[in-house]
């Protein structure tokens, strides 16, 4: 009986001992004391919270694009104008060579002394190359689409177009005069046509130089 009584006392004593609070119940009660181990850890701010606050706000209304454009046409234009630039620079180099050879040919044929004709073939070749390159350069620009609206006003491009337009007129005149001058071999007026061909040649090269210069500088 003593043992049973003692066991009962022991059980009662065990039941009466204070237990650790169940966190999910007692922590919610206001003012409930908490042990240090039960206090929730303060949330650490994200590492970038101070240095990179969110910029995902919108203060302005959404707007539709203002310029309707054809993206494929833009890409095609850029390709053609890139080629235009490369071929144009090559044309300038050939035109320079043609002008030099043309002057040498005129000096050899008509300026002084006996005519040897040693620059004749070179001039014909460089002249043909110049005309071909100039035509190709012009066609690349003419066939480039213009999907974006043009801005009004006179700018570098306007001057470039004027200069190359003048060069085109000069080039056409040079082709006609050059062929006609060559056909006047033995005639007394051949030197006159040759001089005109020379002068227009310089004018044409000056126009080409202006056209290139407006873009480069």
């Amino acid at each position: 009986m003593t043992t049973s009584f003692g066991a009962a006392v022991l059980v009662l004593a065990l039941l009466a001992m204070p237990r650790p609070a169940v966190a999910c119940v007692f922590l919610d009660e206001p003012g409930a004391p908490q042990s240090a181990s039960q206090q929730p850890k303060a949330e650490e701010p994200p590492p970038n919270a101070v240095t990179n606050p969110p910029l995902d706000f919108e203060l302005l209304d959404a707007k539709k694009p203002l310029v309707p454009v054809d993206d494929a046409a833009i890409r095609r234009r850029r390709t053609l104008l890139s080629w235009h630039q490369g071929v144009g620079l090559g044309m300038f180099a050939v035109a320079l060579a043609n002008t030099v050879v043309g002057q040498l040919n005129y000096s050899d044929r008509f300026a002084s002394g006996p005519s040897t004709g040693r620059y004749q073939l070179a001039h014909e070749l460089t002249a043909g190359a110049t005309v071909a390159a100039f035509t190709a350069t012009g066609l690349l620009a003419l066939f480039a689409p213009t999907p974006l609206p043009k801005t009004d006003g006179f700018d570098r491009i306007s001057l470039h177009k004027l200069a190359t337009g003048a060069a085109a007129a000069g080039m056409a005149a040079e082709v006609v005069l050059g062929l006609y001058t060559a056909s006047r071999e033995g005639y007394l007026n051949q030197p006159d046509f040759a001089a005109a061909h020379l002068i227009i040649g310089y004018f044409t090269f000056a126009a080409i130089t202006l056209g290139v210069g407006t873009i480069v500088f």
């Binding site: 990179n52 606050p53 910029l55 706000f57 919108e58 203060l59 302005l60 707007k63 694009p65 203002l66 310029v67 454009v69 993206d71 833009i74 890409r75 234009r77 850029r78 104008l81 630039q85 620079l89 974006l148 043009k150 801005t151 006003g153 700018d155 570098r156 491009i157 873009i215 480069v216 500088f217």
Partner: protein
């Protein structure tokens, strides 16, 4: 002195401040070996929200197509490389803190260019105007490569990667 205090107080008034597009400009400048290129837009729009505690949120944008350099071929090329179809605007957003009488403002910003967003911290100068508006000026550099922009070239030489963006905005305060 009294006027200066009044103007300084007006500079920090809480509310929504709106960019006066007609009196504002957004500029970019890039360098090439043969050219210095700069273009200006007079169609910038934006808002700045100032909270009572001085916290500031700013958003400014401008249509890419409105940036004019005076050279139509260059502007067309710029529209091509900027892919204006898909990304018609250049957008700046910023956060900062504005206190009474501040003449300088540091913004933690972000610039969206060519559809790519990149951090753009910027220092702005503030100047209160007699009519109560606020003139804001500042500049910062962006990397064209970082925004995936194909740098234009001339004579096989590309423009520099650094592009300077300048803002000169007139903000009109809450009514």
């Amino acid at each position: 002195m009294l006027i200066a205090l009044i103007l300084a107080s007006a500079a920090a008034a809480p509310g929504t401040w709106t960019v006066d597009s007609a009196q504002s400009a957004l500029r970019y400048a890039v360098n090439h070996k043969l050219h210095k290129v700069d273009a200006t837009s007079k169609e910038a729009e934006g808002k700045a929200v100032v909270r009572p505690d001085g916290t500031l949120m700013v958003e400014v944008r401008a249509p890419v197509a409105s940036l004019k350099s005076g050279d139509c071929n260059r502007d067309e090329h710029m529209l091509e490389v900027m892919n204006v179809c898909a990304h018609p605007f250049v957008v700046f957003k910023g956060l900062g803190h504005l206190a009474h009488g501040d003449a300088q403002l540091q913004l933690q910003g972000q610039i969206e260019l060519h559809g790519v967003k990149a951090p753009a911290p910027v220092s702005l100068s503030l100047e209160a105007q007699p009519d109560g508006s606020l003139r804001v000026k500042g500049s910062f550099d962006v990397s064209l490569d970082a925004h995936g922009i194909e740098r234009p070239s001339l004579l096989f030489a590309k423009v520099d990667d650094a592009c300077r963006i300048e803002v000169d905005l007139l903000l009109r305060g809450p009514k």
